[in-house]
Amino acid sequence: MATIAGMQKGQKGIIRDVDLDRIPLKLLEMGCLPGNDVTLIQVAPFNDPLYLDINGSHLAIRKEVAAQIHIDLC
């Protein structure tokens, strides 16, 4: 199943499932919830971290965490 870690720059997706045991509450609070849309805006040099637009919030997370967020690609 696709995760944010596997997205290409510019790709869009919809968050389907978040591994709640491994994702800190803070990330949920910033809008990283099932049903919200996500766009990969930019990948930092050396391929990590990832700069995302989640539900209108712009934030950057590391790949390890991004791999815990499952998405449906659009």
Binding site: L20, P24, L25, K26, L27, L28, E29, M30, G31, L33, P34, I41, Q42, A44, P45, F46, N47, D48, P49, Y51, N55, G56, S57, H58, L59, A60, I61, R62, E64, V65
Partner: protein
């Protein structure tokens, strides 16, 4: 006096909350600390109509009421404690027009605590450009609140906000959501166990234990224990609550907020493409750093020369116009040169704070974090360590406090331990004066001043040693921690002059006052110790006359010899002589030794100390720099500050841990004496060894 309305200013980070605070209070504000902890407390007074006043408390920025750092915890402590003297009559929740959705999470939580709340939507001036429209009456109704559209930049909407604050009693107290629906059985049980308590408040108190640790329970009576459910279950429930809140917010905004996505053309994405680019991103970052350090050296030399000369003139004037005596010489030889040693660096320090404030305000700092994270991780640091390392160039104390948003404890600890290596503004005085003594005033390639480049090199050295130390610590420290990292990438903003200036003035002021107090005290002590002495000190004229018997000295030569003899046999001279064997392998004499010892309290004392020591008994009007340049090695007859001893001194200051306030902050932030003591021992040893090798090699 009329009762003041207590207002708490709340909101997510990056919503321009501070600009709103500055607009409401003007310069009528003060910055302090919450008792016992190093969280900044900003408060101010806002004038309402007919002489009424509001007391505004600017609370730390937070994404929700589920705290994960001590800054955020402060917000919850206050909102749960009705007996606190700062408990708000009304909360003003500041949110940003482009991020309303996320900002509302906090707002609904505050509403559910039944605190009267006003929703202040800031940056409303961007609405047309970003094609955002809000159905304000409908949103007000859905959220049971009053909404004020603000533009801190254009100073719009503040009269309305003030009116709403004045009429806070009309605000509805209706909560936004019913939290109990996430686990009806659990909340029923809670209600039975603690009858008469507000369930949402109770829930926050309980979950706070899970998130952050013991809370001050004065707001809720009776014994509270969260044993009723396991920690895991409570965490699940919190996630459920967050999801529930977002459902409510999404539904509400669907009907009241429209954004024309096509019109939201992105200036930010174009800028991001360049600023976070694999090559250009780094080039721009290093260009900005170089520019800053060049500017600090070049631009501030004019006001500095002026200040230096003014203090020399003041000393001169004092001596000429006040009746001679101990008080006059204390003033002219102790206090004035000592204070001059700190005042002279105000231009540089102000410039440094100015640049850091601009980097923060524009939103550029987050891009640097993003750019540097992968690289910093190789050294056991986080991309977020870049902010402390850069602001450490101003002062290590706020820098160490700025590590609080690093989620991973090991990364945070390493950042705290290595931050004191960065070139803080207290090292600047020492660097500047020594560079100007030992590095010629030349230009390289026509544009760069050689002195400026040396300074840039020292800054670079500070960063490099911090990174290297981090790398070693990463290898040897065994601290269990989870890797996690999230950073908001805020919109680019033109910095607002008012915000930047207030930050600059506040920070410079507290630096100068803080250092000024220490320097004032130390310069008085030094003057006393240098002006009096035991035994031979009091017989100086006789001893000198006996020494130079048969030689004809002019009156001036005789006086100079007497003063030199006195200084050497004063109390401070004796202490200095005692430590001289320790510092002479590094190329220093006893006077520099004294300056180093006194600067263990704070580095910037160094220049003031030398100024005081050199000016005791010295009648000429001279600037600090000239006095130092005139110091001669007693045996060799060459300048005291030559290339070898100068470089050795520079490196000593680059590495040594000479700041008691930093040690105290490290103690507070790590909650242990082991870390600060380790820092003190390790850094000072390193400094000594490096200075020793350098001097032996160069001389």
């Amino acid at each position: 006096m009329a009762q003041q309305i207590q207002v708490a200013l709340l909101g997510n980070p990056n919503t321009g909350k501070t600009s709103v605070f500055n607009r409401l209070t003007g310069l009528n504000q003060k910055v302090g600390n919450y008792p016992g902890i190093t969280v900044e407390k900003k408060e101010g007074i806002c004038q309402l109509s007919r002489g009424k006043k509001a007391h505004i408390l600017d609370l730390p920025g937070t994404y929700s009421l589920n705290a994960s750092s001590i800054d955020e915890n402060q917000v919850i402590e206050l909102l749960l404690n009705k007996n606190d003297k700062d408990y708000p009559d009304v909360a003003v929740v500041v949110c940003e027009v482009e991020n309303i959705k996320r900002n509302l999470l906090l707002f609904t939580q505050i509403k559910d605590l039944k605190i009267p709340a006003i929703l202040a939507i800031n940056m409303a001036d961007r609405m047309t450009r970003k094609a955002i429209s809000i159905d304000v009456p409908a949103l007000e109704k859905a959220l049971h609140t009053k909404i004020v559209l603000l533009s801190a930049r254009n100073n719009e909407g503040f009269d309305t906000l003030k009116t709403q604050i004045e009429q806070y009693k009309n605000l509805p107290m209706t909560p936004c959501l019913d939290t109990t629906v996430i686990a009806p059985d659990y909340f029923k049980r809670l209600a039975r166990t603690y009858p008469g308590q507000d369930l949402y408040k109770l829930w926050l108190v309980i979950t706070q234990d899970v998130n952050f640790g013991k809370l001050d329970r004065t707001g809720v009576s009776g014994p509270i224990s969260f044993q009723t459910e396991s920690v895991g279950t409570l965490k699940k429930l919190q996630q459920k609550e967050t999801i529930k809140r977002y459902q409510f917010i999404n539904d509400t905004l669907k009907a009241t907020l429209t954004v024309d996505k096509a019109r939201a053309t992105d200036f930010r994405s174009r800028l991001d493409r360049v600023l976070t680019h694999g090559v250009w991103g780094y080039v721009i970052f290093f260009a900005i750093l170089t520019l800053i350090f060049q500017a600090i050296f070049d631009w501030s030399s004019y006001p500095m020369d002026f200040i230096d000369q003014s203090f020399a003139l003041m000393s001169e004037w004092t001596k000429a116009n006040l009746p001679p005596g101990d008080f006059t010489s204390l003033l002219a030889e102790g206090v004035l040169p000592g204070l001059g040693g700190i005042v002279i660096f105000i231009p540089q320090i102000a410039f440094l704070f100015l640049f850091i404030a601009i980097l923060e305000e524009t939103g550029y700092m987050s891009r640097v974090v993003f750019l540097m994270d992968r690289i910093m991780r190789r050294f056991g640091l986080s991309g977020k360590s870049v902010v402390p390392l850069i602001s450490g160039t101003a002062c290590a104390i706020p820098a160490i406090m700025a590590t609080r948003n690093i989620e991973n404890w090991k990364e945070r600890l390493i950042t705290i331990l290595v931050t004191p290596f960065t070139t803080c503004s207290a090292r600047l005085p020492v660097y500047l004066i020594i560079i100007s003594l030992i590095i010629p005033q030349q230009r390289v390639l026509g544009i760069f001043s050689l002195q400026g480049l040396t300074l840039t090199f020292l800054y670079f050295l500070g960063f490099a040693s911090a990174i290297l130390a981090a790398f070693l610590l990463d290898r040897f420290l065994k601290v269990p921690s989870r890797s996690f990292f999230v950073i908001e990438m805020p919109n680019y903003k033109l910095p607002m002059a008012k915000n930047v200036l207030i930050t600059m003035v506040e920070k410079t002021k507290s630096f100068v006052y803080g250092a000024g107090k220490i320097i004032f005290a130390i310069s008085i002590i030094l003057w006393v110790l240098a002006s009096y002495g035991p035994g031979d000190f009091n017989r100086a004229p006789q001893i000198i006359d006996a020494q130079y018997i048969g030689q004809s000295l002019t009156e001036q030569e005789r006086n100079t010899a007497i003063e030199a003899f006195r200084l050497e046999h004063s109390y401070i001279g004796r202490v200095g002589k005692a430590i001289e064997p320790l510092v002479s392998p590094l190329g220093y004499d006893w006077k520099i030794g004294i300056a180093i010892v006194s600067s263990f309290a704070a580095r910037e004392v160094f220049v003031g100390t030398l100024a005081t020591i050199y000016s005791v008994g010295n009648d000429d009007e001279q600037t600090i720099r000239n006095r130092m340049a005139a110091e001669v090695h007693p045996m060799l007859g060459t300048p005291r500050f030559n290339f070898a001893s100068g470089v050795s001194l520079l490196l000593f200051y680059a590495f040594a841990m000479q700041c008691m306030s930093t040690l105290a902050v490290v103690r507070k932030e790590t909650n242990s004496w082991i870390w600060p003591m380790g820092q003190l021992f390790f850094m000072t040893t390193l400094a000594y060894v490096v200075a020793f090798i350098t001097y032996q090699f160069l001389s």
